[in-house]
């Protein structure tokens, strides 16, 4: 109970300070929309047929990049006024601090994802909402995997000079299995295919990926944060 309260405390603090300044959120949203509206449309011929076959890959490319922007800020935010030292020396549980940070990052990434979907649907003429429930589940699971790993490495690289470059280079190769599953599922669900046996296997992979890395991150949180 105490653990959950601490988690929520950290998450709400992070969300409040982010939603007041909208620093990371604005950057991530602007980046995602520019990428969807401009870059992707010139990278390939955005006819409806082509888009249906690659929708998952395109969307997750955008989410992964936007996610790196959001997660980079997760611990960097605490550097000014030595807030990180205060957090670490407070009676907060290391795992609770980590989980709270992850939750805040997750909410922000979900905002970006949910803002991108309709824009993508309108400009690429894709009826993405035919499998709305499963699609939202896949978006949430993929976002969770990305935030857990991203927050972990945000904490690890917070003191580095090149952290903005390091984070994507470390996180994306680790994310490959999760991203692969999320891409396969998103492509199929956006095209209106219901969750059949094959998609169900991918979903299981995505869930296991999330569980493995959440457990690992919570177990190592103390080692990372407290040293």
């Amino acid at each position: 109970m105490r653990f959950l309260r601490q988690t929520w405390l950290v998450a709400s603090k992070d969300l409040r300070s982010e939603l007041r300044t909208k620093e990371a959120l604005n950057a991530a949203l602007a980046f995602a929309l520019v990428m969807i509206l401009l870059l992707l449309s010139f990278a390939f011929d955005p006819t409806a047929e082509e888009t249906r076959r690659t929708s998952g890959g395109l969307l997750w490319l955008v989410f992964a990049f936007a996610g790196a922007l959001i997660l980079n800020r997760s611990f960097v935010r605490e550097l000014t006024n030595d807030c990180l030292d205060v957090l670490v020396s407070s009676p907060l549980d290391g795992a609770a601090l980590f989980l709270g940070k992850s939750l805040a990052g997750f909410f922000l990434l979900m905002i970006v994802e949910l803002a991108c979907l309709p824009v993508f649907g309108i400009f690429y003429n894709v009826a993405w909402h035919r499998q709305l429930g499963p699609l939202l589940l896949v978006l949430a699971l993929g976002a969770w995997g990305l935030t857990v790993i991203g927050t972990m490495f945000s904490a690890l690289t917070v003191n580095l000079r090149l952290r903005e470059l390091m984070l994507p280079a470390l996180v994306y190769p680790l994310m490959i299995p999760g991203l692969l599953a999320a891409i396969q599922l998103t492509t199929a669900l956006v095209a209106g295919r219901p969750l059949d046996a094959e998609l169900y296997d991918w979903l299981k992979l995505l869930v296991s990926f999330d569980i493995i890395f959440t457990a690992l991150a919570l177990g190592l949180a103390d080692a990372v944060l407290l040293g």
Partner: protein
Amino acid sequence: MRSKTLYIMLLAAAWLMAADIAVILLVLPDEAAQGAVYRIIFFHVPAAWTALLACLAAFLASCLYLLKRDFRWDALAVATTEVGLAFGAANLITGMIWARVIWGIWWTWDARLTSMLVCWVLYAGYLMLRRAVEEPAQRARAAAVFNIFAFADVPVVFFSIRWWRTQHPQPVVWGGGFMDAAMWRMLFLNWVPLLLLFVALVALRMRQEQAARRLDGLRRRAHAF
């Protein structure tokens, strides 16, 4: 490890490998379907085994570092990862040469090739991370955590990418393909010199790492005065 042991190991590796290469080139016949180029398998497959072994060793060393906070484990982790990456590169490159002859292309995004490449890039990130952190204790801690994450990812990567269509010849060792007993034996025989080379290189690299840390410590002390 003492220098003498190291030299003996390297000599033994060179001698065994020369003997193996003589057998591979002169005694073993060409393969029925592939001709002469199949011989690359005697380096390709043991190199992959060695690389996977290196991942395991680096994982254990990283766990031990986090538990004991002894820099020797950190040195072992970086040594095994680096040498493992070299063996992984040998595996990828020999595979590409073989693919150019047999498939007519250098690269294809088949399951095993992709998995190996992803894992290689993953562990290359480990070296990149080490280079970016300057403070030794912080570097060792960050590297150990990353290594544990990477090791947990390896089976998931192989498993997930296998769900794509595969073009790779069916694994010879765990079921599927068939190989003559003499060739089979050679695969393991040639693993011995590669393993010796691996251990010697790891010992050498570890020694280097520890010498570098001692030097760094001396420099810090000199600056402190």
